[in-house]
């Protein structure tokens, strides 16, 4: 099947969603996603950040879809034409969605441990306004303790339900979920029961905001002062492939390896994540690559700069040889002869 997104065509298998097709193309036209997580079944369709405009339904039925559709749950049709970045309507809609998501968000980024790798921060940086129109009091929750390893900040939650799906699909006993309805909806363990399953720590990785954070890393350092390294160890419970976040010789945090859409490649177990913080525990493979504009790259001028090669005729960039000599005195060849005399000869002035 052929799908066209922002004018770029891609061949996809039947059953692919528009978001997955856009990710196959990559670049600017990939819609942002807060709730969709490719490694979790049934995720998506909740945050409405990934809205796109379908300007042509399919080859069989070329009518455009009347409303914007959530690209993470809408399947591709043969000959479908989609506008993501190119559409004014989509940009406007994403702006509104961002504003709605931020209504009850406490905006405490200076305190939040997720700042610097937060999807909501990226979203509001790209699509958000610089000021708020919301004058009512924000919804707040009583702080709740959900165990020794995971910190829950319900105020920051955007109810994407990724963590609920992690608990459903990775752990055998789900002990937390979305409680109450509407404005009161919140993530909670029913009777403040500790979440202690071996894979429960992955909730931290999947959380797009700072609602679920690592208690062992709490306030230790900001993300951008840490250096990420790929590391692995022999673990009988999980693959053991992780990213360690180091400050000097100290491992301050262990997370899964995240790809460019901030999704972990493989889920890791709690003992890798919380209990192994010694350098001897890990085989460090090497520094991790991160995005060019990432905050981790700030104040780092040590990268090698590649020389830009412009493929054109030599003359265009350098100019004529005699002009070059006039401008730059250093290039004068004093053995050169003008009219048969040496260049610095008396007769030449």
């Amino acid at each position: 099947m052929k799908v066209t997104i922002d004018g770029q065509s891609v061949e996809v298998e039947p059953g692919t969603t528009i978001l997955q097709a856009a990710r196959m193309i990559g670049g600017e036209s990939v819609p942002p996603a807060m709730c969709y997580y490719s490694k979790l079944k049934g995720s998506g369709g909740k945050c409405r950040c990934c809205l796109v405009e379908v300007s042509k339904g399919s080859d069989a039925d070329p009518r455009p879809m009347p409303k914007l559709v959530a690209s993470c749950v809408t399947g591709c049709m043969d000959g479908m034409e989609v506008n993501s970045k190119n559409s004014e309507r989509v940009t406007e809609a994403r702006k509104s969605v961002t504003e709605f998501l931020l209504i009850n968000h406490p905006l405490d980024c200076p305190i939040c441990d997720q700042a610097g790798e937060c999807d909501l921060q990226n979203l509001s940086f790209k699509h958000g306004k610089s000021e708020t129109r919301y004058i009512e009091e924000k919804r707040t929750f009583e702080p709740e303790d959900i165990g020794p390893n995971i910190q829950l900040h319900m105020n920051r939650c955007i109810l994407c339900q990724r963590c609920v799906q992690v608990a459903d699909q990775l752990t055998d006993n789900r002990v937390h979920g979305v409680m109450d309805r509407g404005d009161h909806a919140n993530i909670s363990t029913c009777i403040s029961k500790a979440i202690d399953n071996e894979f429960s720590g992955n909730m931290i990785d999947v959380c797009p905001v700072g609602a679920l954070t690592d208690k062992t890393f709490r306030f230790k350092s900001r993300v951008w002062f840490n250096k990420p390294y790929n590391a692995h160890r022999d673990c009988d419970k999980c693959c053991g492939k992780v990213t360690v976040w180091m400050f000097g010789n100290e491992i301050q945090r262990v997370t899964g390896r995240k790809d460019e859409y901030h999704e972990v490649e493989e889920f890791i177990c709690n003992s890798c994540r919380f209990d192994h913080k010694k350098v001897e525990d890990w085989v460090i493979e090497g520094p991790r690559k991160f995005e060019k504009d990432s905050v981790i790259n700030q104040n780092n001028y040590t990268r090698d700069m590649k020389k830009v090669v412009i493929e054109t005729e030599e003359q265009i960039l350098l100019g004529r040889a005699q002009d070059r000599k006039k401008i730059s005195m250093s290039e004068i060849d004093y053995n050169e002869k003008i009219d048969g005399n040496l260049i610095n000869d008396k007769d030449n002035g």
Partner: protein, 183 residues
């Protein structure tokens, strides 16, 4: 015959040096000495550009940036939450900090859940550019108008200013609050 490359002046400022012999008058150097003296005497009657320092003080620029201060709010709580943006923005990498969590019963000391346990500015590195002040999201760090930047000292360690030297004194915070209430 083509002009020699050395005599071409693209900028028009090039002066050619000649090796011609000086005349008798020039060799006396009298004219040159008188010319130099005229310049010296002219400067005697110009306005002086120095000031008599302890008695006279030069006017400060309105954007003058003096020593740093970590502000407290009107209730005397520290504004800084150790978000690290000042350290990130610092081009001289002079700022380091360590965050800690606010305990129960410390709400009157720190405004937010997190606070800077250690906050240090290396005054030997600081270039007083004010970027930390600009980056601060909590209005915590300010470059004051204090005339004394860094007092002289013998040990390098004494130039690393900790929270004891940077945080605004409590009396000042109380005075500020009273001033604000009075207005």
């Amino acid at each position: 015959m083509s002009t020699a490359i050395q005599s071409i002046s693209l900028s028009g400022k090039k002066k050619e040096v000649s090796k011609k012999e000086m005349t008798f008058l020039e060799r006396l150097y009298l004219i040159a000495i008188i010319k130099g003296l005229i310049i010296t005497i002219k400067h005697l009657f110009r306005k002086k550009i120095t000031v008599q320092y302890p008695e006279q003080v030069r006017q400060f620029s309105p954007v003058y940036r003096g020593r740093h201060m970590l502000k407290r709010d009107e209730q005397g709580r520290e504004n800084c939450t150790a978000c690290g943006l000042c350290a990130l923005s610092c081009p001289a990498e002079a700022i380091t900090m360590k965050a800690a969590e606010r305990k129960k019963g410390e709400e009157h000391l720190y405004r937010e859940e997190k606070y800077a346990e250690i906050y240090e500015i290396n005054m030997l590195r600081c270039i007083f550019c004010g970027l930390c002040e600009e980056a601060c999201p909590k209005d915590a760090i300010y470059l004051t108008i204090s005339k004394e930047l860094v007092p002289a000292n013998y040990d390098r360690e004494d130039f690393i200013f900790g929270k004891d030297k940077l945080v605004m004194p409590l009396e000042m915070a109380i005075k500020n609050a009273q001033l604000k209430n009075a207005n």
